[in-house]
Amino acid sequence: GAGVSQSPSNKVTEKGKDVELRCDPISGHTALYWYRQSLGQGLEFLIYFQGNSAPDKSGLPSDRFSAERTGGSVSTLTIQRTQQEDSAVYLCASSLAFEQGNTLAKNIQYFGAGTRLSVL
């Protein structure tokens, strides 16, 4: 697609329910990132995918959080048994991998508009 697409744009859920957030990266981008943006805070790194593998998932805050990527494209971030502190905007970004493009291009992450999650 033309840009990074995330769905849903807004999600309201009840505490204890599971939620799935979807990210559709820019076509051809092999690198994909998930971030969390809490109110008044910066972007907190959650996980990185290179293709379908996640070499760095160090930012996932607990084992309630998981993510997968299939076909080297769409990624899903799943939060199980949601808590109120999970309320935030979840942002996805994609970029070219290091073996693609020039140095400048490899450093540019393109962000989606995010999913605003509200846990009641």
Partner: protein, 115 residues
């Protein structure tokens, strides 16, 4: 601990004035310093970036000043316009062992340019 500290949290500037946002970092291994601009309801978008081998980079009304010895860098917006009103994030990255640029973001500065 917070790897990149950003200030101020919010900033009000009159149209035509200069907006200055500051960031400081700890890790001297960082080798790429981008600034991102985020409008309400949108994802952040790259505005301008600098590598540590230069002290200043200018693109139109936007300038990054970089002080390697002080481990500080700043964004200057000249002739600020109401359309510049947005949240600005600084970031720093380093080559990660898994071959990608892991970004550490500042907490953001909400800029409001008054007409």
């Amino acid at each position: 601990q917070q790897q990149v500290k950003q200030s101020p949290q919010s900033l009000i500037v009159q149209k035509g004035g200069i907006s200055i946002i500051n960031c400081a970092y700890e890790n001297t291994a960082f080798d790429y310093f981008p600034w991102y601009q985020q409008f309400p309801g949108k994802g952040p978008a790259l505005l301008i970036a600098i590598r540590p081998d230069v002290s200043e980079k200018k693109e139109g009304r936007f300038t990054i000043s970089f002080n390697k010895s002080a481990k500080q860098f700043s964004l200057h917006i000249m002739d600020s316009q109401p359309g510049d009103s947005a949240t600005y994030f600084c970031a720093a990255s380093l080559f990660h062992i898994y071959n990608f640029n892991k970004f550490y973001f500042g907490s953001g500065t909400k800029l409001n340019v008054k007409p």
